[in-house]
Amino acid sequence: MAPIDDHTVSVMATLLELTIPPQYAAGVAENLQRLLIQAKLVMDFELPPDTEPAPVFHA
């Protein structure tokens, strides 16, 4: 996975009309990198098409 830098964070935030002050960008990038490593674990898992989200989850 390519490293997430301040510029990437800024571009992604712009798409959402979210301004991330420059002094927070490095911390956000570090956390986003950590999240995307976890996200890959989720996205790489092949689920049967009939596995639907449970909108009300009662365990």
Binding site: A13, L16, Y24, G27, V28, E30, N31, Q38, F45, F57
Partner: protein
């Protein structure tokens, strides 16, 4: 509480029998808080005279012959995300200081009051419940009563530490990814996170609506069951709360029925410290032993919970993140801002994975009544400690404390965190995980461990 008995049942019995006035019980608890909280920082606000006034009113009712309830005069504390009428609900934040005082009690606070218990204060937590250490940038760190150099765990750290320090026999907490089980483990007290949807969240500040559970801490399994019974019942104002009747557990704790027990392996033991693994073995042996089994794809389940939490938390706080990010705790802010940037397809996939993972757990529960896993991979870290050594690897502390709790709350299973103390060491808890709606099973196992002297809360300094 000198001369006043400790424990919920003995306190309530003595107040009902008029051996002690509720006012004296509350004053005694306030004295313990006054003596110990300057060192521990469990409370962010104290109700002082308001609590004493409430106690005097209860005493008057008892004197008039009214039944005061099963928790008569018992003091309790609440994580400061619970509404308590007349007080501002901080949820660990600076931003919420601007909110008006709550107009009504949270449902669970109201239920405890109805049962005769009296709130004495609101307790410290990680900002917006997003953390496992209760090192709060606005209100300071809560210190572990067993070693004040260490964290109490989080996010319900003030609540667990208050019980561990003998300030309150009951604390109410919340658990989205482990926020009851982690501080119960680090502070060495009992914690109960019931099935998702069991206890209504009405009147509590949310974090992740489809993962938020409410629960409690006590110093014994009897107290845990008694208070849990007082908290149960449906509430139509919480859309996630199941419409289930009260299913009392207090009188089932000594049932001799044998439980089919299994130990979760793989993910749930990888990297665990020796204390956690020893505790796991002791608990398994005391419950009659059982095979080690796998709950498949726990790493992916944890990853899904991790991502959902960041994204849903970001959505909740979106408005403030846009206009006043500097008012957040830095540790919370950066994670929420990162969560705001996650793609939507991931979140849908995470919810689908949740359903798949739930089915794998259900398969295990066709063979077993109870699953065991450590609550935390380590004992309480030191305050300010940024990394943990897990399985020979140096990893960031905050995101990894909940490794073993997150997959379980992801699918809403009921858990008792059973504390294990070793001489001279820090406590660590074992998760007693039952099938959905079978809190009774986990509580019964915890009671058996307590009777066997394997599990038990220890009040620091007593």
């Amino acid at each position: 509480m000198k001369d006043i008995p400790s424990g919920v049942e003995p306190i309530a019995a003595s107040v009902r029998a008029r051996h002690f006035k509720a006012e004296a019980v509350i004053a005694a608890a306030q004295n313990v808080v006054a003596a110990r909280d300057p060192d521990l920082n469990c409370f962010t606000s104290l109700y002082g005279e308001a609590a004493l006034k409430e106690a005097r009113a209860l005493d008057a009712r008892i004197a008039a012959g009214e039944a005061p309830g099963p928790l008569a005069g018992v003091p309790f504390g609440v994580k400061n995300l619970y509404d308590v009428a007349g007080f501002v609900t901080l949820a660990g934040s600076k931003i919420n200081q601007e909110n008006p005082p709550a107009k009504a009690d949270a449902t669970l606070v109201a239920r405890l009051r109805q049962a005769g218990a009296i709130p004495i204060g609101a307790q410290n937590m990680d900002e917006y419940a997003y953390g496992f250490t209760t090192e709060n940038a606005h209100y300071g760190a809560t210190r572990n009563p067993h070693d004040t150099r260490r964290v109490a765990g989080g996010s319900s750290g003030g609540s667990a530490a208050a019980v561990a320090a003998g300030m309150t026999p009951i604390s109410l907490g919340s658990d989205t990814n482990g926020s009851i089980r982690v501080p119960a483990s680090f502070c060495g007290v009992f914690g109960l996170k019931p099935t998702f949807g069991r206890l209504p969240r009405t009147g509590t500040y949310p974090f992740v609506s489809d993962l938020d559970h409410l629960g409690l801490f006590t110093s014994s399994t009897t107290d845990l069951a008694l208070v849990y019974d007082a908290l149960q019942g449906p509430d139509p104002t919480d859309p996630f709360c199941a419409q289930r009747p009260v299913e009392p557990v207090r009188d089932t704790l000594e049932s001799p029925d044998m439980l089919r027990v299994a130990i979760l392996g793989d993910w749930f033991q990888d990297g665990a410290c020796p204390e956690a693994l020893t505790a796991l073995v002791e608990v398994a042996e005391a419950l009659g032993g059982g095979p080690t089994v796998s709950l498949p794809e726990a790493a992916r389940a944890r990853a899904a919970a991790f991502c959902l939490t960041a994204a849903e938390g970001a959505a909740l706080h979106w408005a403030d993140l846009r206009v006043r990010p500097g008012d957040f705790d830095p540790a919370t802010r950066d994670r929420l801002l990162a969560g705001a940037l996650l793609p939507s397809a991931l979140l849908i996939q995470a919810q689908r994975l949740r359903r798949w993972f739930q089915a794998r757990a259900a398969e295990l529960f066709t063979q077993f009544d109870l699953l065991l896993a450590p609550a935390t991979p380590c004992v309480a870290p030191f305050i300010g400690q940024t990394t943990l050594r897990l399985g020979g690897r140096e990893v960031p502390a905050r995101p990894n404390i909940g490794l073993y709790t997150q997959p379980i709350s992801f699918i809403g299973l009921p858990v008792v965190a059973a504390p294990i103390h070793t001489p001279g060491g820090m406590p660590v808890a074992v998760q007693l995980i039952a099938r959905p709606w079978q809190e009774e099973t986990a509580l019964r196992a915890a009671a058996k461990l307590e009777r066997a002297g394997v599990a038990g809360a220890r009040i620091a300094g007593r």
